[in-house]
Structures are given as structure tokens and as C-alpha cells.
Amino acid sequence: MLVEHARNLAGIADATHAEYGQGGTPVITLLECSLQDQTIAVELAPGSLLEKLYGAERVVEHTTCSYGLSPRMQHIAEEFGMRIAATDGTGEVRAIERVDHPFFVATLYQPQLQSAPGAPHAVFLGLLDAASAAP
């Protein structure tokens, strides 16, 4: 999602994901410290959709990510209609969302791993609520 955002809204036509090899401007790069199979504390941005959905300022999530937003590209997460919805303890971006969209969210953690019968995850509730409310 950040690559699409970078290419089509931020004007970085050759934006790419480092996982796909050399060339272009890498927007998503290998994390200095892999978050593969880790539990992390996530700070939700005040006023964000995610904060509203979770009903909390700080949550714990599970992540399998080895890649994240390049430190040199952090600024694009706050430009052209995108905003930072969550960060981790190091201050790095862990979720983004669009301010001009009913539900457009990307997480650098896996909320589905915290969902259970009778205890659905707030992100997936928000997704279905938004879809069912669409005209």
C-alpha cells in the first residue's frame, strides 16, 4: 500500500519494495531488527481511526514482519492524505491510514493472529462495518 501511495500520490514513480531486488527507490526496506514472530507494544495515534476502533491508546500485537517503511521515507506516511496511525516503542511506523477514505488501513503487524471466536479483532470489525455501511 505504501508503494502504491509513493508511486501515485507522492510522485516517486520508481518506488519499490526492497524484497523484489535492486533498482528504483526502495520505500519498504529490511528492518534493522527483524520483527519476525514477535509480540510488540503498539502506540495508537490520538484521533486516528485505529485508536477509535481499538478504544485504547496502547495495544499489544503479534508481528511476522521483516520489512518496514524505510527510515528515509518516513515522511510519506504523513503526506498526501496518509497519516501515521500507530508506532512502536522505537517510534517506527507500525500502521497507516488514509484520512479521506472510509477504511484504508495498513498494519505492519498481523491483527488476524489476535482474533478468536467471540473475540473478533477491532480492525476486522471496522473493515466489515465500513463495507456494510457503503451505499
Binding site: 519494495h17 477504511f103 484504508f104 488501513v105 498481523q110 467471540g118 476486522f124 463495507a131
Partner: protein, 91 residues
């Protein structure tokens, strides 16, 4: 109530833990809200026309498991969902 078509873009095999967890999380939310759903699993190399995925009243979930087989097709679905106000979550 009409069913929400939820397209899950994922290249991991159906028996993979993260594949299963993604579908189950959608079902958990559906059960909780009483919102009927129609889940359609699509691998990125089978997306074809992104316009037919990001349609009004639908939702899109981009599952874990990069590198994707066809990242450009996935980007096109993201673009269509953004432009058409289709709910989308990327995990």
C-alpha cells in the same frame, strides 16, 4: 442484508497458519456483527482486472506473505480501492 464480498489477496497456501488466521478473523467479525460475507480468496497472479475486485459494497484484505507473485497486480487493486473508497486493510 446483502453479503459483503471480501476478497482476500494472499499467496500463502490454504493450510498455512497465516492464511487460515486471515479467513478466520474475517469470519469472527462477521459472526459478531451478523454481517453476511462472501469470502473470495485470490492469489496475486490470478487478480486479472483489479476493477472487478474493488467494487462497491465489497472489501479487500491483503494478507501476509510477501514477496507476492504479482506485486504490480496487487498495487493496482490497492489503487482501485483507494480511488473508489472501497474498504481495504493490508496486513
Amino acid at each position: 442484508m446483502r453479503a459483503v464480498v471480501v476478497t482476500v489477496l494472499i499467496d500463502l497456501p490454504p493450510d498455512h497458519q497465516y492464511h487460515r488466521a486471515t479467513l478466520e478473523a474475517i469470519r469472527h467479525a462477521s459472526d459478531d456483527r451478523g454481517i453476511p460475507i462472501d469470502i473470495r480468496v485470490v492469489s496475486t497472479d490470478a487478480i486479472g482486472d483489479a476493477s472487478r475486485i474493488a467494487t462497491p459494497g465489497s472489501a479487500v484484505v491483503i494478507g501476509p506473505g510477501s514477496p507476492y507473485r504479482d506485486p504490480e497486480a496487487a498495487h493496482e487493486v490497492v489503487r482501485k480501492a483507494r480511488e473508489r473508497n472501497i474498504p481495504l486493510v493490508g496486513t
